[in-house]
Amino acid sequence: MGERRLSPRQLLSMFWVFFKIGAFTLGGGYAMIPLMKVEIVDRQNWLEEKEFLDIIAVAQCSPGAVAINSSVYIGYRLFGLAGAVIATLGTVLPSFLSILSIALVYTGVRAYPAVQKAFRGIYPALVVLILAAVFNLQKAAFKNRIDVAVAITGLIALVVFDVHPILVILASGITGLIRYFAGGRRERSAGG
């Protein structure tokens, strides 16, 4: 029932792409955005940037982890129901396997210093990678100055006033609707 943009043969490569994304999504949900953008939009050309942004919006507004939600949605867009299941498996499997192997030897965490140092290196790298992804995606999001104003307002709401992301997404969607209906009315009155 999906959109079937992939052939059955490509299912395996889709699984592998999501497995890689799952394995390298360290440091929370949004860290997967640069990886997904490069693997799915740039390298495989499976989705356009616009669709990618829409999927992230829906993933953020639905219950559950953002990484899982976006995997389900992208998988569905690429290969219907089977695609959704396989993409989700790909994303979940790396964490499942690594936690399982940790649980096997678990005796209470005394985190290794080397691991902590590795993460001190990874976090600044993620900041740059995420910002680079934003830089690439902004072309698909910003069509005019109002879009830029909406983004800046949204950022202030998120950072300064700690507004919930879902509210920011819905409010921006409503500005889209207002602009559409106001624009349409103006056209109609100009025409009549």
């Binding site: 982890a65 649980a103 600044p124 934003v134 949204g154």
Partner: protein, 172 residues
């Protein structure tokens, strides 16, 4: 049956946690410690720490860990399936509805209004991560090296993450 209890308990966690990541922690804590008494608070804090050092969403990591502690491999599988199932069901429903109504002008207008907000969300994520991690001169140099790796040497983000981990072990 314990598998069913695990599945349902984590299904609830998946269903009621919006916004992902750390927003899920209080809910997971309530289900696992307060309601079911599956872990002590200390063990739970350990899982959060492990989650930060392993790939994947915290909810999935916690599900796998708790499931394994309670009922072995199949417990881990049941809990992980439980936490993932709501995403599958709800996103498939939404995807279906959106596909159906795509092309309606007002639906498209709504989504084009949303896109700038998604940019803001991603910048916020970078900001939160950066505020806690880019603190000194070493962090700034590492960030600049990543920038060079990305734009001058055109490296893949996955390779960059691996290199940054190695650099972290060397310089900190």
């Amino acid at each position: 049956m314990i598998y069913r209890v695990l599945f349902l308990s984590f299904f609830k966690i998946g269903l009621f946690s919006f916004g992902g990541g750390y927003a899920m922690i209080p809910l997971i804590q309530k289900e696992i410690i307060d309601i079911n008494g599956w872990l002590t608070l200390e063990q739970f804090m350990d899982i959060i720490a492990i989650s930060q050092m392993t790939p994947g969403p915290i909810a999935v990591n916690a599900a796998t860990f708790v499931g394994y502690r309670i009922a072995g491999f199949w417990g881990a599988a049941a809990a992980t399936a439980g936490v993932t199932a709501p995403s599958l069901i709800i996103i498939l429903l939404l995807a279906f509805l959106i596909k159906k109504y795509r092309g309606l002008a007002w639906v498209d207008a709504f989504f084009s209004g949303v896109r700038p907000a998604v940019i803001a969300l991603i910048v916020k994520a970078a900001y939160s991560l950066g505020r806690g991690s880019i603190l000194g001169i070493k962090d700034i140099i590492l960030a600049l090296a990543v920038l060079a790796g990305l734009y001058i040497f055109k490296l893949n983000p996955i390779l960059i993450i691996a290199l940054a981990a190695a650099a972290g072990i060397l310089i900190y």
